[in-house]
């Protein structure tokens, strides 16, 4: 009965830092969101800094653009066998985007811009007492990318652009530790840290003719690194020396995104567009935690994720009623990068179907006010997280309203 050996069985398995497939947010521009997330071909506004930096020279002038989303996905879990259900506790997060940019002056071949946006984020709080609490209680991941961008019009038909990306963000994770105190209360691990990484965003925008435009963009992967995050443990006193508060390092490789798309102006009212998106999720093979202090109970961990690359399809249409009013509608199919035997509750995902729409109002010539929504749903997906033997069916539903404003100088 040596003291040290008492806790090896309770070794913390940090199965689940939760940055999942689902954590890619496709919410960086209002019109694009309303059209199923498509938009690499058509430079609608300054948000093309994100969607296709090549389109920046196409704007009519320097534009300032801001939008904000209210995201509060609802996730439900039905466990295999017990039939126990759990739902995430609702918390609204607000991804946003700010863009300023356009041709440096009228008829210039050069365009410049700056984008600040939130391409990845995730939050799921299952509460402290559900059956999967030893895998995950809560996860909150936030990221903000800053992208200074330069665009150059090679010819009337072809415009290219490139931006440097600096990403920063934070992660906070809580999970229960299976060491109960005298009152039966579980231990708890809290991991908090700041992350950062760099990448780039390049694109080519082609104006094939008056009615047809094409686009291709490549956003590089960004390896978000957490250096010396804080790991705190709240466990029964008898186990405290096995779970010393310490520092941890980890990294999350965000995938590269290659998008190819086209847009057609069907008539003076209607424009339709579509994108094919290849996401390089393969980089997300495993999630590792390196703790500064190790004990028999607190070991470095490596959890398999084994993500796969995905092809997503996005389509949408824009109907311009008159100079003041337009409406949009769209849809998307986003296959999940996750495998069904490696799906952790902190990164729930499934093939996503979404429907979106919105309106833009131009009360005066240079001002656009935009209101859009995105509705995303998944079928119930029966999965397991094998490293923890937690199995059940998950379903996600999400309704995201958003609001934006743009002004061209």
């Amino acid at each position: 009965m040596k003291k040290v050996s008492l806790f090896t069985g309770a070794a913390l398995s940090l199965s689940s830092l939760a940055f999942a497939g689902s954590f890619q947010l496709n919410l960086q521009g209002m019109r694009q969101t309303a059209m199923g997330g498509s938009g690499v071909a058509w430079p609608w506004d300054a948000s093309t800094i994100f969607y296709n930096p090549g389109g920046l020279t196409r704007l009519e002038g320097i534009q300032a653009y801001a939008n904000i989303y209210a995201v509060s996905p609802k996730i439900k879990f039905v466990e295999n066998g017990t039939g126990t259900t759990a739902e995430t506790i609702n918390k609204t997060s607000t991804p946003f985007a700010l863009y300023v940019g356009g041709p440096i002056k009228a008829e210039s071949k050069w365009g410049i811009g700056l984008g600040i946006y939130t391409p990845f984020g995730s939050s799921a709080n299952w509460g402290d007492n559900w059956t999967g609490r030893y895998v995950s209680q809560s996860i909150a991941l936030q990221s903000v990318f800053v992208q200074p961008t330069l665009s150059y019009k090679i010819s009337e038909a072809i415009s290219v652009g490139a931006g440097f990306v600096y990403g920063f963000g934070s992660v906070e994770i809580t999970k229960a530790i299976p060491v109960q105190d005298a009152n039966g209360k579980d231990g708890q691990a809290t991991l908090e840290g700041n992350a950062n990484g760099v990448g780039f965003n390049v694109g080519v925008q082609i104006k094939a003719n008056e009615n047809m435009q094409l686009g291709i963009s490549y956003r590089s992967g960004v390896n978000m690194k957490v250096n010396k995050g804080n790991a705190k443990f709240d466990v029964a006193a008898a186990a405290a020396s096995n779970f010393p508060d310490t520092r941890f390092d980890t990294e999350l490789p965000l995938p590269s995104i290659l998008t190819i798309g086209a847009g057609f102006k069907v008539n003076e009212h209607l424009t339709i567009q579509g994108d094919v998106v290849l996401a390089g999720w393969e980089v997300y093979d495993s999630l590792k935690f390196d703790f500064e202090a190790n004990t028999p109970a607190l070991q470095d961990t490596r959890e398999p994720r084994i993500y796969q690359n995905t092809f997503a399809l996005r389509v949408g249409g824009h109907y311009k009623f008159n100079e003041h009013f337009a409406a949009m509608i769209g849809g998307a199919f986003d296959p999940t990068p996750s495998k069904k035997n490696y799906l952790s509750p902190d990164a729930v995902d499934a093939n996503r179907y979404s429907l979106s729409g919105g309106i833009t109002v131009n009360p005066i010539e240079r001002l656009s006010i935009m209101a859009v929504f995105n509705y995303t749903t998944t079928a119930g997906r029966a999965v397991s997280y094998e490293p923890a033997n937690l199995a059940g069916t998950y379903q996600i539903k999400s309704f995201v309203p958003a609001f934006g404003i743009a002004y061209t100088f």
Binding site: M1, G9, S13, I75, G83, T84, R133, V235, A238, N389
Partner: protein, 444 residues
């Protein structure tokens, strides 16, 4: 403005479909009838844990867990002969705590619960509150089941009176009579462990070839005949049920916690002294881990080193090892050791008894749970929703602080094995138990 009208309807429809719609499948009783469920068995069935019987242990017994799941498919109330308090009866239960050894070192381990025995008067007969659905009696063997006046006999023999407490006529009742009193429509039976366990936990000092004392291994013929009569009586009115076999007790922490090679020598002087002392017997010691010295009448000098595959019991006084030279300068007494022959006796009997149980299940068309194999998988770890359970004492989470009985979580794991066997035998869909809802070992 018909467009905005349309958009309001659309928005409304979307909001309404914002909630996930998946639901758990509806439980189903299949072709079994759970109206009246009776649990037959011993201490494991009674909810014994941490070296004693106490109320929350009973409330978290695996039959109580099963009854709660059966209730979702038409099961009725489930009455247990509950004790009034938490301290343990008749002795205090164990909890994890700190104690100072003879060497002055304070360590974490099982200590007696620091409380007054609050269950005084527990021996008062409560049969009038019955009949009870849980008729599990700590200590009872299979071969006791047809003994008239078992409850009284157990008391006279110095027993505790668990059965005496709730049997309607303790002077004359046979346990089999008490088990059939409710005319169950469904029963579970986890019986037979004590027919080998008593022998094993007494260091194999009883009769390993078959005897009727509590420290003997029960004779196979008697075991077989009584087991068959109990099953026969249970099914005589058409009840369906599940039989659970006996775990190999040599795999439980009671036998595996104190290592055979646990004599740690840290100085050359110690090694030299022991080598000199044991030179006539040709026993040699080295720095580091050595096999303990045990009594063995058949060995030269009446002692030898214990071998791998032989076990030292959890009940051995730790201070005698630490400070009185047990296992080094003095041999460990036989009653704390299960030697190779005794281990073989236990395993042979367990296999034979389990064959009887399997045959009875097949002959009567009953569900069957191979608890022996299941608990053996604990060796490599059983994972459940992020927790890994193992047979390791204290930290393994599945065994309680007596090293023999389970924690509520351990009992819940067994309950799920039983449910799974019932579901497949009777084409039922009974929900399993949420193991993580229960407690494991609690730390100060």
């Amino acid at each position: 403005m018909k467009y905005s009208y349309l958009s309001i309807i659309l928005a409304g429809a979307i909001f309404a479909s914002c909630k996930p719609t998946i639901e758990a499948p509806v439980p189903d009783k299949g072709n079994a009838d759970f109206t009246t469920y009776v649990a037959v068995g011993n201490s494991l069935t009674a909810g014994y844990a941490d070296g004693s019987l106490y109320r929350s242990g009973q409330e978290n017994s695996y039959p109580a867990m099963l009854a709660a799941q059966f209730k979702m498919v038409g099961g009725g109330d489930f009455k247990q002969p509950l004790l009034p308090g938490e301290a343990g009866w008749p002795g205090l239960r164990r909890v994890l705590g700190y104690s100072k050894g003879c060497d002055g070192v304070t360590g974490l381990g099982p200590i007696l619960y620091n409380a007054q025995i609050d269950t005084a008067g527990s021996i008062i007969n409560i049969a009038s509150q019955g009949p009870f659905n849980n008729v599990g009696v700590p200590g009872i063997r299979c071969i006791d089941y047809t003994t008239a006046g078992y409850a009284y006999g157990a008391l006279v023999l110095g027993g505790v009176g668990y059965a005496y407490r709730f049997y309607p006529s303790p002077l004359t009742d046979r346990p089999i009579d008490v088990a059939t009193k409710l005319n169950p429509t469904f029963f579970s039976m986890w019986l037979g462990s004590n027919d080998v366990l008593g022998y094993a936990t007494n260091g194999g000092e009883g009769n390993g070839a078959g005897g009727t004392l509590p420290t003997d291994i029960s004779p196979l013929s008697a075991f077989q005949s009584v087991y068959q009569s109990v099953v026969g009586a249970m099914v005589s009115k058409g009840a369906k049920g599940v039989l659970i076999n006996i775990p190999d007790v040599t795999a439980i922490p009671f036998f595996t916690t104190v290592p055979a090679k646990g004599l740690a020598l840290t100085s050359d002087a110690q090694v030299a002294a022991l080598n000199t002392a044991y030179a006539p017997l040709g026993i040699n010691f080295t720095l580091g881990a050595n096999y303990f010295i045990i009594q063995d009448a058949a060995a030269p000098g009446g002692l030898r080193q214990i071998k791998s595959g032989e076990y030292i019991l959890l009940t051995i006084p730790q201070d005698s090892i630490k400070c009185k030279g047990w296992g080094s300068s003095k041999p460990i007494p036989r009653k704390y050791v299960l030697d190779a022959t005794e281990v073989a006796n236990v395993q042979t009997a367990t296999a034979a008894f389990n064959a009887v149980i399997k045959t009875a299940a097949d002959a009567n068309g009953l569900a069957y749970v191979d608890a022996n194999t299941y608990l053996r998988t604990l060796q490599t770890g059983i994972k459940y929703n992020g927790v890994t359970y193992s047979p390791t004492f204290v930290s393994g989470g599945a065994f309680s602080l007596d090293g023999v009985h389970l924690t509520p979580r351990g009992y819940a794991l067994i309950a799920n094995q039983i449910i799974s066997a019932i579901n497949s035998k009777y084409a039922a869909r009974i929900s399993s138990v949420d193991v993580n809802k229960y407690d494991g070992v609690l730390f100060p």
